[in-house]
């Protein structure tokens, strides 16, 4: 299963590090990660594509990512 995750977070470099750490620990394969720091509006948009997860794992993972303090919004959708 392939999923696209969209995140809006505080404009802090550490956010991407925290997210990658979590995927690394859970052995989740990241196909793509893209972060756009927007200095003017003071937030970042992060887009991630991951694969090989079942529904339960994606839900737990999203909830765990959402515990990252700097993250303001997160949603995901199945893309394949």
């Amino acid at each position: 299963m392939k999923y696209q995750i969209n995140i809006i977070a505080e404009n802090q470099q550490i956010v991407v590090y925290r997210i990658i750490n979590l995927f690394l620990k859970k052995k989740i394969f990241i196909e793509k990660i893209e972060a756009n720091f927007n200095e003017k509006e003071n937030f970042s948009k992060i887009l991630i594509i991951i694969k090989n997860l079942n529904q339960n794992m994606i839900e737990t993972t999203i909830k765990q990512i959402n515990k990252i303090i700097e993250i303001k919004k997160i949603n995901y959708k199945k893309i394949l």
Binding site: L22, N56, T60, K63, N66, I69
Partner: protein, 558 residues
């Protein structure tokens, strides 16, 4: 008013009502220590002997006081020595604020003397971390650190402060921060509560499993009231051990790998499992696909990511436990579940039979369970017990009859040997109750240097060494699962009595069963720190036991 960053840090800590700091100084945090010098009358500093001691002491303090524990260390090795304790606090949801010094911001990334990437190292094991590189940030970030550490599911926070930020001056204004994201209040709708209550009221064989969350949310009373009203048995996890006690007729013992027979076996017979402030850890569930398969699971936890993580939940409830219990209580109906409760008693009898058999076998010997039982009797169950890790831990959890709420602490999720001695320091500072550190001969030697802290601070902590001359728990596994191949688990120990004497701490060693009670009485009576070393039966095992990978109802009685 212009003050240095270091002074602003101390003022910010005072604003958070910090009373004690556990720490160890060094180059990169010297400005902070210099500022602290002028505030000694307002804030206590405990100088430990190793930074691991500081962080475990802060954990012990946090768990007993239910406030964040604070530690100070220098950069580099000072900070890396904290790592085990930070990971421990993360696993066991303990609120900590660890302040680490760092090289000046102009030197970051240059491999400067005692520079380490503290943020990089601690990111996976903290609830939040942050590096302060200019003084102006201090008031806000410190407030944020305390807020995050204690709000919702507690956890450790690391704040790394570069040396220049400690020295620079700022216009200090006190700040109090709150974070919208964590501020979410519980809203349990009436309909939902009714629906949950209906499931509970109609269940025939319900079982509560009470975890650390009961203590964190201060819900001990509500738990007891709930179980008595509904007539539902309560089992506890290792961390939930002191959340209820045998005075509640519905208390049925501990679950998990070394828990009691009845609650483990009957987990698989229950038609409803109420997980209250616990996280279905593998040491609790055993083989997952054979865990509580006949039960609907209602899981009340404040951390949404725990719902459905390990077990499929019928009804996840995102709530503070105390709030939930208070609000559901009016909808709960009393129900006769005599037969179900009787089953626990029957199975408990079986466990007792095996226990008796063991007592007979070791009639003239000192076994660890006997020592803990005696300690419990003689202290009337009214002390705080800080257990280390291994057999000693399981004996302490199982055989001390805890009468005080929140009186058992130990390292659960991480299982950190060496936890108990330093954690008992924090516990003693947080409490007027008597504190007993129960520790094995192996674990004692992992943080033994903290005897120095106990000596210097004159803390009347009672240290009970259960000396079996083995890494006992590992030896037990070797005996049971590796055909008695005792591969490197025998310990040649030093003379612990002389070591205690070296620290000017009263001490006594006992070998004979007839001395046990007499010496325990002296130990308990003493108003000073005291090391009591009890030579216990070496090849003695903790039972019942669920072998790793087995189901809860495959628990072994011998």
């Amino acid at each position: 008013m212009k003050i240095t960053g270091a002074e602003a840090l101390i003022k910010s800590l005072l604003l958070e009502k910090v009373e004690v700091i556990f720490g160890y100084p060094g180059g990169a945090i010297m400005p902070v220590y210099d500022a602290l010098y002028h505030y000694q009358d307002k804030i206590k500093h405990i100088l430990v002997r190793h930074e691991q001691g500081a962080v475990h002491a802060a954990e012990g303090y946090a768990r007993i006081s239910r406030k964040p524990g604070v530690c100070f260390t220098t950069s580099g090795p000072g900070a890396t020595n904290l790592v085990t304790g930070i990971a421990d606090a993360m696993m066991d949801s303990v609120p900590l604020v660890c302040i680490t010094g760092q090289v000046a911001s102009s030197l970051l990334g240059s491999d400067a003397f005692q520079e380490t990437d503290v943020i990089g190292i601690t990111t996976p094991i903290t609830k939040w971390n942050y590096q302060i590189i200019n003084a102006q940030e201090i008031p806000e970030i410190i407030s944020k650190a305390f807020y995050i550490a204690s709000k919702g599911r507690p956890g450790p926070v690391v704040i790394d402060i570069t040396k220049n930020a400690q020295i620079e001056e700022l216009d200090y204004k006190p700040k109090k921060i709150f974070i919208e994201k964590l501020e979410k209040t519980n809203k349990l709708e009436k309909n939902k509560l009714k629906e949950i209550a209906e499931i509970i009221n109609s269940s025939e064989k319900p079982l509560i499993v009470a975890g650390h969350g009961v203590l964190i949310s201060n819900a001990e009373n509500e738990l007891n009231i709930f179980s008595k009203k509904a007539k539902i048995p309560i089992a506890v996890t290792l961390h939930g051990v002191s959340s209820t006690n045998k005075d509640n007729p519905y208390y049925v013992g501990m679950v998990g790998m070394h828990g009691n027979y009845a609650p483990n076996v009957l987990t698989n017979e229950a038609d409803l499992l109420l997980g209250f402030g616990m996280r279905f850890d593998d040491r609790v569930t055993g083989k997952l696909d054979r865990y509580a398969k006949n039960a609907k699971i209602i899981h009340v936890d404040i951390d949404a990511s725990e719902h459905n993580k390990n077990v499929k939940t019928y009804f996840p409830v995102l709530s503070d436990l105390k709030y939930f219990l208070k609000n559901i209580l009016p909808y709960i109906k009393s129900k006769n579940r005599k037969n179900w409760i009787e089953k626990f008693k029957q199975l408990d009898e079986i466990e007792k039979k095996y226990e008796k058999k063991r007592y007979k076998k070791y009639e003239n010997k000192i076994t660890s369970d006997l020592v803990i039982k005696k300690l419990s009797e003689l202290t009337k169950g009214k002390a705080i017990v800080v257990a280390d890790v291994g057999q000693n831990q399981m004996f302490a959890a199982r055989y001390y009859d805890f009468k005080l709420n929140n009186s058992f602490i130990s390292s659960g999720g991480l299982g950190t040997m060496g936890f108990s001695l330093p954690a008992s320091i924090g516990a003693k500072i947080a409490s007027k109750n008597d504190v007993y550190a129960v520790v094995g001969d192996g674990g004692f030697q992992m943080t033994i240097q903290e005897l120095g802290t106990i000596m210097q601070e004159k803390l009347p902590i009672k240290i009970l060494i259960l000396n079996n001359q083995y890494l006992g728990m590992v030896r037990q596994w070797q005996e049971l699962f590796f055909s008695k191949r005792y591969s490197f688990t025998y310990l040649k120990n030093p003379n612990f009595i002389q070591i205690a004497q070296g620290y000017n701490i009263q001490s006594k060693k006992i070998n004979k069963k007839q001395d046990l009670e007499k010496e325990l009485k002296k130990f308990i009576k003493s108003k000073k720190p005291y090391v009591l070393e009890v030579m216990v039966e070496a090849e003695h095992n903790v039972f019942p036991m669920i072998p790793a990978g087995n189901a809860v109802d495959e628990i072994r009685l011998e």
